[in-house]
């Protein structure tokens, strides 16, 4: 079994790139691989807890909780999140908070890295 690290920058809700990143993570972990996810940019807003899941909008929270449950490590860029007014006290439990070097450290120990840029 191998390790995949995904860096995801695009924001949650309506941007299907974010949905892609989570679906790929789920498929990899379901096959027994280790998966890490790094959020930066607009994606760092998606660690906010109490997202209301409306059927017209995609959502982050329930998928993130399910991935954490399966052992996926998820970390948000602290600076990016607090710049958006999201801090640990109002975030989804189990998400890690760290600086950008968390991502580089996970990459160091990864077999594959998928960096997804965009808004």
């Amino acid at each position: 079994m191998a390790t995949l690290t995904i860096g995801c920058f695009p924001g949650l809700v309506g941007n299907m790139t974010y949905d892609f990143a989570l679906k790929l993570a789920e498929a990899a972990v379901n096959k027994g691989h280790k998966v890490n996810i790094w959020f930066s940019g607009n994606a760092s807003g998606s660690v906010k807890a109490k997202q209301k899941h409306l059927k017209d909008y995609s959502t982050g929270e329930k998928h993130l909780r399910a991935l954490i449950e399966k052992g996926v490590e998820i970390c948000t860029c602290e600076a990016c999140s607090i710049a958006r007014g999201v801090d640990k006290t109002n975030a989804i439990e189990g998400i890690q908070w760290n600086a950008m070097h968390w991502y580089l450290a996970k990459i160091h120990a990864s077999d594959r890295v998928l960096q997804i840029g965009g808004e």
Binding site: G41, A99, M100, I107, H108, V113
Partner: protein, 136 residues
């Protein structure tokens, strides 16, 4: 695993979305990654600008005065201060008519390191030498 080389390839212009500037700040963070790694392990990014990614690098940016945010120029200077390899595609600078001497340096801040204006083939080689490539 020792030294893991990375190629950061910025292909979108600065000041469009956040992605292109986050590429720079993420690369800079290699300087502090050792606190999370075993002794002897390091990460070495090479930061490459290609295509439209060469836009928004040049000297004299007024982003702080006009919009209150750190300019890309300042971020690039910070790269040089932490001794990061920065490659800017020579063919693409020529394509957009940007003189090579418009690239910033950080001499005033005491950095010896300079941006390297390099042919695409050298950026291709950085991608080949890297264990992972990250496109921004």
């Amino acid at each position: 695993m020792g030294d893991v080389k990375l190629a950061f390839v910025v292909q979108k212009p600065q000041y469009k979305s956040e992605t292109s500037r986050l590429a720079i700040t993420h690369a800079i963070s290699y300087q502090t990654v050792e606190i999370l790694l075993e002794d002897g392990d390091i990460v070495t990014p090479t930061l490459c600008f290609v295509g439209e990614g060469v836009l928004g690098l040049q000297k004299g940016q007024k982003a702080m005065d006009l919009y209150g945010i750190t300019s890309t120029e300042t971020h690039i200077k910070n790269c040089l201060l932490v001794d990061l390899d920065v490659l800017v595609c020579k063919e693409d600078l020529a394509k957009y008519g940007i003189p090579e001497d418009m690239m910033p340096d950080a001499e005033d801040m005491g950095a010896d390191k300079k941006i390297k204006v390099a042919p695409f083939s050298e950026i291709q080689k950085a991608m080949e030498d890297a264990k992972h490539v990250l496109f921004f």
